[in-house]
Amino acid sequence: MEILEYARPRSMDEAFRLIRERHGTAIGGAAWLRTNTKTMALGVDLAGLGLEYIREAGERIEIGAMTTYRELETSQLFKARFGPLFEATVSHVVGIQLRNIITVGGTVAGRYGFSDLNTTLCALGAKAVFYPGQTVDLADFIEKGAETPFLLEKILLPASMKASYQQMRISENDFPIINTASAWTGSDWRIAVGSRPAATRLCKKAMSLLGDDPYLSDEKIVAAAHAATAELQFGSDIRASASYRRETLHVLIRRALMEVRG
């Protein structure tokens, strides 16, 4: 990608002004710029704004937009609160060298269909915080996007949750054919599915079917997998056909729910 003008703002205010008033494009991890053939009139680099953190904030955990995948993968706080969930979610993404570059914010803001992380974040009921202070449901944002240019500051997560991430890839360095994450929030179940190959969606009918019972029967798990695969749309591409994705998802949802149920 060609960047005609580059800016490295020193404050969130300055970054926000450049994006809103001068139509700048926020630069997150920038790992995909090399393969993008577009021209960026004004690139607004978010490095150096102090957005690299994973921290507790009251009843929530905050992830700064410039936090890398490798930081998610190796976070002791996440291991303590979510078990191996984040490691399972991001550790298939190419290699450590790329995971030291790509960022949470770049993935969320890009609303990429192939994303592993967005699926897990949606299952956890994450919120996205846009500077200077608008908080939105992440699943809504992934589905609908934003109406105006935005500056993603951080992601909010619950302090802990039992959840499972499952995916199928042709090879380790490839995008997933299909992925899913399930979570028990303490009061209800959440199921998210991504890489259909379109972007992540919540399976609201399947979630409703599971209700508020933490002890799921095998029959209910199978019924939820049926409901989820029926309510979503799937596409075909070079990696898999729509029907292959649907069949695979059925298995992955069952595995995820069984893992969370225990």
């Binding site: 990608m1 060609e2 960047i3 005609l4 003008e5 580059y6 630069i27 920038a30 790992a31 995909w32 710029l33 090399r34 393969t35 960026m40 690139g43 680099d45 490095a47 490798r70 550790s91 190419v94 290699g95 450590i96 060298q97 790329l98 030291n100 570059i101 380790e172 360095n173």
Partner: protein, 151 residues
């Protein structure tokens, strides 16, 4: 734009375009040991250490490296030569094109992981592809190298 990089302990002022990746800038500055492979963030041959962490230089904006420490394989030549003896002994090096990026990742792993098992080694090195498919030999060489280093 002019940026300043600290490459292998030496300060270098280099010119770069805003959208240019670190591989191009390093090679233009003469650091030809930084190889160009897939150039799309997949193969790992362009690996360098940035502030001590392995990154793909083909996918890292050069301008972001301004003021930072960049280490190529030449910057760790002593350690790399020691590791290379194990690669040679195991017949794990064929064309050698992936070796600079591969060796840097191995040396980074040695610092980051204490006594890794084979699964951890394979996982850490998943981002380094070898077109000669020398993986089994590489794994043997890494294990013996780490054993020797810990002895």
């Amino acid at each position: 734009m002019i940026i300043t990089l600290h490459i292998n302990g030496k300060e270098e002022s280099v010119e770069c375009l805003p959208g240019e990746m670190l591989t191009e800038v390093l090679r233009r500055a003469g650091y030809l040991e930084v190889k160009k492979g897939c150039d799309t963030g997949n193969c790992g041959v362009c690996t360098v250490l940035l502030e001590g962490k392995p990154v793909l230089s083909c996918s890292y904006l050069a301008i972001r490296a301004d003021g930072k420490e960049v280490t190529t394989i030449q910057g760790l030549a002593g350690e790399a030569k020691k590791f290379a003896q194990f690669l040679t002994a195991e017949g794990a090096d064929q064309c050698g094109f992936c070796a600079p990026g591969f060796a840097l990742t191995v040396l980074s792993m040695k610092k980051e992981l204490h006594d890794p098992n084979e699964a951890e080694i394979r996982h850490y090195l998943a981002g380094n592809l070898c077109r000669c498919s020398g993986y089994e030999g590489q794994i043997r060489a890494i294990k013996k190298y780490l054993e020797a280093e810990h002895a």
